[in-house]
Amino acid sequence: MTEIPKEEYVLKCTSACAGCPSSLILRYVLKAAGPDTVLVVPACCTSVIQGIYPNTALNVPVYNVAFASAAACASGMTEAFQKAGKKTNVIVYAGDGGTVDIGIQALSGAFERETDFLYICYDNEAYGNTGMQRSGSTPIGARTTTTPGGKTHAKKDLDAIVDAHNPSYLATACASYPLDLFKKVQKALSLRGSKFIHVLAPCPPGWRFSSEMTVEMGKLAVKSGLWILYEREFGKVTINGPSKAAMIKPVPLEDYLSGQGRFKGIDQKAIDALKSQSELRAKHLQKEADGIC
């Protein structure tokens, strides 16, 4: 039985929205990482959640840095700590816009150099901090303030891009499964080299659902098979329990979509695209897990 430490590093009175998954995720990330940790945070919701100077709601040092630069900043920090003989964890905690769009060059460089750090992308599938504009991570059919008619392009496959860098560890997680997340962060930090965890963050105001439904919405994403929980270490893929079950008997995707205002009026073509994209991914991951490819 995994013991989750009682220590809190996300203190009370953050300025997060009600039902915010980002602060929930961060709570477990920091419990797993412990106090010898520095967070590097590019512009994202967490820039706001931590509070206003001179106060901070986070009980580890947080280095806030410009949007495109988180992974590069973390590269420098990691090298400097190593040069000083320190074993401090350097964790980038970035949103999807800062990862899949403006920050991807720095991310790619840091992973190519096998920087010894952990990069966590908490993915609420849009630019949440600025009021929900589409990002490269927004799924097809989702309405955002810059795709008022629904997004016409598919969600960028961030994991495939990161995987192409052959990282030491790659995992997906979801705010609704904190124990799974906790273990993955622990495992990632026990390994050397570049580690990556991609966490789905169902966002009540952005996705337009009621704030008490955050955990339920994340569970539906996993149970419908749209979001697959898995890890890849030493070239081997393991599909995690909840997603294994979903692959055998998924809940209808429509259950997930119908609970969210952002998918209101989504057409059948977009639903089919979402379905075929997730089926293809599941098939591919299953093959990898079975050692077929």
């Binding site: 280095y63 806030n64 900043c73 790619s108």
Partner: protein, 370 residues
């Protein structure tokens, strides 16, 4: 030790003596030789630095920032488009009060592609909170790089410093270089706000207008204090190593009726022009501005001033000329010359003095006085 070196190699040699903890580097002409030479030093273990071969200049400065905030000594080098690409992080470095040292090899901006000397690149960063110094010889590039670390890391300053050298004219010119052992000339870096996991703090968190404004004022105060630190550092350097520098180098200036003001290699060239004019009976002198930020207070009264700008602010004018008009209340003859590596000889400079028209502006070789 007496040797010969290019301006680029002189910068790299100075960096080696001060052994930064972290160096982040990205190549760009005409700076590349600096980061290549440093890579050689690191590979041969002559230099014990972490060398991060980043994927862009934006990341070079970001990596320096991430390293510097832990209290590490950091260095990078760039030029022209590279400098502009890192512009956002250039601001961040100064705002975060990080004593990063960067060599910038001055080069024109495109389009079209032009890799030759011009100061417009660094001038576009002049309001970022970085100290900026411009050198004119290989020896000065070496000496000033050493001094830059001490000035940046001084407790009264804690701002980044950019050492500028003219592309090709200096970066690739071979001149004699006397290297030295700096000893304790640059003390170990102590960054008072370095990250400390035992004392967690938020860095760069959301900041309201009052605090933001206060932080800007603190940068300005440090900029003002840096004048004293620069003077002390230059004096200590002269005392220890026998080579003296100042914020603006005077040459036969004291009794001059007319003085040429320029920066970098043009400022050095102006000294030859002064000798030429003196032989003709013209009481000429020159003043080579080394420090652009903080901008020096110069006493220019009582003589004609010819300012040569290897830069331009479109719709405004030569930037040094305008700075002097504002600070020293003079009406100079403003010459725009040397853009994109245009050749400007000492004969040309003597010609500017002979044909000076205070209050007007000349685009050398391009237009008449306007």
């Amino acid at each position: 030790m007496l040797t010969i070196a290019t301006g680029n190699k002189a910068v790299a040699a100075a960096v080696k003596e001060l052994s930064p903890d972290v160096i982040a580097a990205y190549p760009i002409t005409p700076q590349t030789e600096i980061v290549e030479q440093i890579a050689e030093y690191v590979t041969s273990k002559e230099l014990d630095s972490r060398y991060i071969p980043v994927e862009s200049e934006h990341s070079a400065m970001a990596a320096c920032i991430g390293a510097s905030i832990t209290g590490a000594r950091t260095f990078t080098a760039t030029s022209s488009h590279g400098l502009l690409y890192m512009h956002e992080m250039v601001n961040w470095a100064a705002g975060a009060r990080l004593p990063i040292v960067m060599a910038n090899v001055n080069r024109a901006l495109g389009p079209g592609w032009n890799v030759w000397a011009e100061h417009t690149d660094a001038f576009q960063e002049r309001d970022t909170g970085w100290l900026q110094v411009y050198v004119s010889t290989v020896q000065e590039a070496y000496d000033t790089t050493l001094m830059a670390f001490r000035i940046a890391e001084h407790a009264d300053v804690l701002l980044p410093v950019m050492v500028n050298l003219d592309g090709f004219l200096l970066s690739h010119s071979m001149q004699s270089l006397d290297t030295l052992k700096p000893g304790d000339f640059v003390p170990p870096l102590h960054l008072p706000h370095a990250i400390d996991v035992a004392n967690p703090a938020g860095y760069g968190t959301l900041t309201g207008p009052e605090e933001h404004f206060k932080f800007r004022w603190e940068i300005e105060q440090s900029m003002r204090r840096s004048r004293k630190v620069i003077a002390e550092t230059e004096k200590d350097f002269a005392d220890r190593f026998g080579r003296s520098y100042s914020v603006a180098e005077e040459y036969r200036f004291e009794d001059a009726d007319v003085a040429v003001i320029a920066m970098g290699t043009l400022g050095k060239e102006a000294e030859v022009a002064v000798d030429l004019l003196r032989n003709e009976g013209v009481k000429a002198g020159s003043l080579r501005v080394r420090w652009l930020r903080p901008f020096p207070d110069l006493d220019l009264a009582g003589r004609d001033i010819v300012v040569i700008d290897r830069d331009y602010s479109f719709g405004s004018g030569g930037i040094i000329a305008h700075s002097l008009m504002a600070r020293s209340r003079i009406e100079p003859y403003s010459v725009i010359a040397g853009l994109g590596g245009q050749e400007v000889t000492y004969d040309d400079i003597a010609g500017f003095v002979r044909d000076r028209r205070p209050g007007s502006e000349l685009w050398f070789g391009v237009s008449g006085n306007v």
